[in-house]
């Protein structure tokens, strides 16, 4: 994943209404939508939540372990 990861409640700079435990928008690398989605769009912002969440990437699936280690689980 190319998006930066920001800590939750990362101090100042949150849009109005965002509290310290709420997801934080971070800039994400993206080149915009292809023509089938209409005109080019601004970069996607990733809303980051605490602790990350399990995803599958390529042929591997990962889940964060209790001690912050990453364990592989089956596709």
């Amino acid at each position: 994943m190319t998006g930066a990861t920001a800590p939750v409640g990362g101090g100042s700079g949150l849009p109005a209404g965002l509290g310290p435990r709420e997801p934080v928008p971070t800039r994400r690398e993206a080149t915009g939508r292809p023509s089938s989605w209409g005109e080019a769009q601004p970069a996607l912002l990733t809303l980051v939540t605490p602790g990350g969440a399990p995803v599958c990437e390529g042929e591997s699936c990962f889940v964060p372990g209790a001690e912050g280690d990453w364990s592989e689980v089956p596709d």
């Binding site: 990362g10 997801p23 996607l44 912002l45 990733t46 995803v55 596709d75």
Partner: protein
């Protein structure tokens, strides 16, 4: 502005976190309470997977990752246990490991019939819970028929690869967004959420996106820049 929140979901049928994430997302939407429009998009985690693999999932994993079968089985049991926490009953003994590109084509066909969500759910259940094949034409035609799509239309679609361009367009869009892991949720076409988050996180994000609609694009961009700066500063502190 449309009151409903649009959520575009990139996922693969053969992705255990995508089905778990689907359940968690649905619970988050329910807690959010507002109108949400969901559309699924194609993502192939392992496009080189053969349509048929003879053997158990533990054997596949063992061969593919070079692990002892016992360790592969342990990993399988772990994810099945997590699935059970959201009332999904993964049956890895029965699971038919396969290529999912045809299933993605069926999902696109189902969208044209207004039955995409039912089709996605049926395919996930077929793959993870019921040991049904989601890579063969006849099996996919049967599954699609269960949600009201004509078998012959499914067979013709798969024979002609007539939805393959739609699958590839989804994959191109994922690449443009920088998505390389699933599930991935794009909300209102502007905000991304990665992974099988907890329902409360999805609920919070949906509320946040609605709140951000009151902000101008410049304000949102400025807030994002400040968040980036904060992250960089925090990274500097912990380095």
């Amino acid at each position: 502005m449309n009151d409903s929140v649009k959520v575009d979901v990139w996922s693969d049928i053969a992705c255990p976190w995508c089905y778990i994430g689907k359940r968690k997302f649905e619970a988050g939407v329910s807690a959010f309470g507002g109108p949400v429009e969901v559309e699924y998009h194609s993502f192939e985690l392992s496009p080189d997977t053969p349509v048929d693999f003879e053997g158990s999932e533990a054997e596949f994993l063992s061969q593919h990752k070079g692990l002892p079968v016992e360790q592969a089985q342990q990993m399988i049991d772990q994810v099945a246990g997590i699935a059970a926490q959201v009332d999904l009953h993964y049956d890895y003994d029965a699971l038919r490991h396969t290529n999912t590109v045809k299933a993605h084509q069926v999902i696109h066909l189902a969208k044209q019939h207004g039955k995409q969500l039912e089709m996605v759910e049926r395919l996930f259940a077929a793959y993870f819970e019921r040991g049904e094949h989601v890579g063969q034409d006849d099996s996919l035609a049967d599954l699609a028929a269960e949600v009201g799509i004509d078998r012959d239309e499914v067979r013709a679609t798969l024979r002609d690869d007539s939805q393959l361009a739609a699958v590839r367009a989804d994959q191109s869009q994922a690449q443009a967004y920088g998505i390389n892991g699933v599930p991935f949720f794009v909300i209102d076409g502007k905000y991304g959420v990665s992974g099988a988050q907890d329902p409360a996180a999805f609920e919070q994000v949906l509320r946040q996106v609605v709140a951000l609609r009151e902000s101008t694009p410049a304000e949102v961009a400025e807030a994002a820049q400040r968040a980036d700066d904060d992250a960089a500063a925090d990274a500097g502190v912990t380095r």
